[in-house]
């Protein structure tokens, strides 16, 4: 570690791993409930397990993003973190709030939880992935803003690189798009629009920027290839991501009451969404092949190579299979299969 304050990343990574294990456990519970219908009945109903499973996914990713930012930004900015104490305080606030929310999901019926937490003041609960009670949602905003303040101040006082700019763009976008979760209109079409602007613009927009920035950072470290070369690729990747990802949101508008042209726009642009992942893969392999040093951290090199491949196969190829409107009609439009948003 070049800077002492980078150490605050450690608890974030530990928490992320712990929550990831939790996600797997609840995934297994649901899998078992498909096989053994009354498994854990009536303690953990399927819908509760699913909510815990998906919410844990989001929270461990957020912990991972934050930890990675705390680790990466001091090195990129060549300065200590603006406030390591704030980073540690936020860690505990976020962890405790997250744990309380999960406990609430598990031990209180969801409708009662909504009553207890002021959902009648501002109704925000009930939408997939955004099931968190109002206090948790507000907590997420406070933690995200304080985290962004800490990171942005660090960048401002130190060296400004393209990589940290892309990371900041991604992290700020993440916080801004979350605000749509507070608007829950009665009109079902509008409701779906705003919901997708959180879910889709996170997964297929700003999260990819964060991933791109982290990948670029790791590649510079492990390959020793010139920053200029790495940054040039990063620009190409984020442009491809934003163009395909933002207009590609249209693949969620097919059956929600939006105009028909979205079936074309959504199909064409979301079909191109694998391209930025493909570019990431080409980029990583290219850079590692041109490496000027043999970095001892083989795991980091493997991650840099593997993350693009896995994203290309999972999100890219798997997602492409049913992204075209005529195919999606059968997977989502007709509700023949269980709806899993991507």
């Amino acid at each position: 570690m070049q800077y002492q304050s980078q150490a605050v990343a450690k608890p974030y990574f530990i928490a992320a791993i712990g929550l990831f294990i939790g996600q797997i456990v609840f995934g297994l519970i649901m899998g078992l409930q498909y096989v053994i219908g009354d498994f854990l009945f009536p303690l953990i109903p399927f819908n509760v397990a699913r909510m815990v499973h998906t919410n844990l996914l989001i929270v461990w990713l957020l912990f991972g993003f934050m930890g990675a930012a705390y680790y990466m930004v001091p090195e990129e900015s060549e300065t200590e973190l603006f406030s390591p104490k704030l980073a540690l305080a936020l860690f505990w606030i976020f962890l405790v709030a997250g744990a309380l929310t999960i406990v609430g999901y598990l031990f209180v019926p969801y409708a009662t939880l909504a009553q207890m937490t002021g959902n009648d003041i501002l109704a925000t609960m009930g939408r997939e992935f955004l099931e968190q009670p109002l206090p948790t949602k507000l907590g997420i905003v406070v933690v995200a803003l304080a985290f962004l303040f800490n990171i942005t101040m660090t960048v401002l006082k130190g060296r400004k690189t393209s990589i940290s700019m892309v990371l900041l763009l991604g992290l700020w976008g993440l916080a801004v798009f979350f605000l749509f979760s507070f608007y829950n209109p009665h009109d079902l079409v509008k409701d779906k629009y705003y919901w997708w602007w959180v879910v889709h613009l996170w997964v297929e927009g700003v999260w990819e920027l964060i991933l791109g920035a982290l990948l670029a950072f790791v590649l510079i470290k492990v390959t020793g290839v010139d920053r200029e070369v790495i940054e040039k690729w990063l620009y190409v990747i984020i442009t491809l991501t934003l163009v395909t990802g933002i207009i590609g949101t249209g693949h969620h508008y097919y059956w929600i009451g939006a105009p028909e042209y979205w079936q074309w726009w959504g199909s064409v642009f979301s079909a191109l969404e694998p391209i930025p992942f493909f570019a990431m893969t080409v980029f990583a392999f290219n850079m590692v092949n041109r490496r000027r040093r043999e970095h001892p951290n083989k795991a980091a090199v493997l991650w840099a190579l593997g993350t693009g491949v896995m994203a290309f196969l999972g999100a890219g190829v798997w997602g492409f299979l049913h992204t075209l409107a005529p195919v999606n009609y059968y997977t989502h439009g007709s509700q023949i299969t269980s709806t899993a948003p991507t």
Binding site: K232, T244, S267, V268, F269
Partner: protein, 195 residues
């Protein structure tokens, strides 16, 4: 180009422009190809509707725009050649002329859009109109991006930034502009002319 190339460069072909821009151009062409394919597929199933709606397009404006884009591409080539011959300021004037042609394209297309919107054409008025507006507007946005790139190149040429030993940026930007031109050369006959 060959006059400046060293003997080693002459023996192995050199990629004009950066590999990253070529990946980007390929992605762009892929996007347009997907749209063109969708157009062709849909047109085959709605031939009469497409032919009738196509008559409402202003083919003269389309032809004028084709000339403007081709001229702009020719001028960009002159600018690149000028920079290769170490004639920065002269090359900058070629580039400025190319930018003027590009702006001309935007003006003609803007007038076309204005007339179309007055006539009640929208993304939902017919399938043909949906394709017409989507394809041309997507291309329109690329012309704007291309012009921003040309403006940056023009600025660089004026400052003498691009020389025979530093052509990467200029060639990359020029290649992008030629892509914008190439797409129009398919779009225009496909949407405006083929009946």
């Amino acid at each position: 180009m060959s006059s400046n190339a060293s003997s080693t460069a002459a023996s192995e072909p050199r990629l004009a422009g950066d590999l990253a821009i070529w990946i980007f151009i390929l992605a762009e062409l892929g996007a347009f190809a997907a749209f063109f394919g969708a157009y062709a597929f849909t047109r085959a199933n709605h031939l009469a509707d497409f032919n009738a709606a196509q008559l409402g397009l202003n083919r003269d404006a389309g032809a004028l725009n084709t000339i403007l884009l081709l001229t702009a591409s020719g001028l960009v080539v002159r600018a690149v050649q000028g920079a290769l011959a170490n004639e920065g300021p002269r090359a900058a004037r070629w580039m400025l002329a190319a930018i003027a042609c590009g702006l001309g394209f935007l003006f003609v297309k803007g007038a076309e859009y204005s007339a179309a919107f007055d006539a009640g054409v929208s993304l939902s008025s017919s399938t043909f109109h949906m394709f017409y507006l989507s394809l041309t507007f997507f291309h329109f946005m690329h012309v704007i991006l291309g012009l921003v790139i040309l403006a940056v190149l023009w600025h660089g040429l004026r400052r003498g930034h691009y020389r025979p030993d530093n052509m990467n940026g200029l060639e990359s930007g020029a290649a992008y502009w030629h892509m914008v031109d190439l797409v129009w050369l398919i779009l225009f006959p496909l949407v405006y002319v083929i009946h």
